[in-house]
Amino acid sequence: MSSRPTSAPRGGHALRIALLTVVLTLITLPLVIWVLGPNMPPGKGTDVAKAQVFDNTVLLVVMTPITMFILGYLVYTLIVFRAGKADPTEDGAPIRGNMRLQVAWLVVTTVAVLFLAAFGTVELLSNNGSGGGQGPSPIAKPDGGALPVQVIAQQWQFTYRYPTYGGVETAQLELPVNRQIVFHVTSLDAIHSFWAYQLGVKADANPGVDNVAYVKPKTVRTFQIRCAELCGLWHGYMFDTGRVVSGGDFASWIRRQQTEFRDVTKVLPPYATTYNPDPPGRAG
């Protein structure tokens, strides 16, 4: 005895699946928007991080009806079209030339892709690059001035240079809160990637390249720094903890750094967006 239906129900299977998709979407969408979305990474510690949370939420909203359709279709098929033990093992009849299905498929996927392309472009521009490196000539720039901080990667440590403060270089990264920062990310040797997770910044560090990324920290906090590009033996140990501090604390800290590193600052090369180390070591 077969459990396979011999005829389509009233309104057809498509209508049932469509209704199932709508019902599942109406149930899950509020959860996505108001429960899952606000807790998406990387948090809301900076303007670009907050924008990334919004972007991730929008992507989830777009994905939700598609996912519900796929899951609903799967479950419906497993239940309604389940073969009985007595049924022969054979393929169903091939479906060809279903114009409505093809048009619907093309329209839905085209709309989704075009919307995401337009949305992504707007978000990149309106959020000053959304925390990604924009190369040496960024298209999206924030209004007003920004504090430049250079990130220098090498195997296997990040150091930081503050051109506004006499070009002092430091082993720790500290940033003032509520101030626009412009990172200039570069490398002295291999390809690295500067990933300040809670800041929402991830910019490749390439030798000979000035990779610019903008961010405005909104709260006093610590944040994790990691290299996000496999760069050799100690790649996994190339991490650090940065700090966002008040303007006053930052002023005190940078003065201490200038004092502590006054002697070595004198032997640093003049501040530049990229460096070509000399000597190159014993490289063959």
Partner: protein, 215 residues
Amino acid sequence: MITLVAVAVVAVLIAAYVVFLTNGPTPYRPVASGTGASRSVDLTLQTVAAIGPKLSPNESWVSYLVRENGVWHRSTVWTLPAHSLVHVTVYQFDGDSGLRNPFLSKARGIVGGTFTVNGKPMSMINPDDASHTFAIPELGLIVPLLGVADDAKNQCDYAPCSMSNAHNTITFTFRTGAKGHYRWQCFVPCAAGFVYGFGGPMQTIGYMDGFVNVV
């Protein structure tokens, strides 16, 4: 039956591989003296331009060595007591290579802020004269090691070098802090013949990199 034997062979091979990966050389553990905040250990190292055939199949590789019971070993994994002073002596037999980042020519994280080179206290060196560094980045520790002059007489060809060979003696002290598993490394691109001077011995534990187990 053949399937069972094959499965057993593969299982044994996997187990042997895991045992091989998880059992490195026994870390060097210097004897501590004193108690509490005054507890300390001595760590005596040498750096050589070439490890030589007696201590490694990669005889031309640059390397650190550690002295244990008066004998030099090619071991770069050490166990040190937590919250203790570590008095380090480095016999530096290698010539200079120069630092890629001059910022690292200044010592950080050492007791008193200075190290000595042949008895003379210093806080930094000329970045171009650096032969190696001893650095534990997680502890904020870095000390640049001054290279032997190019025209020095009686330079050491390969390890273990003797005190009659041209060398610089560098001393410094640092405090270990909390328990943990910390990497240490050289920041000078000193691996001759490798891309950027950072291949081979710079990417292989047992030469210019290692671990400090703070227990």
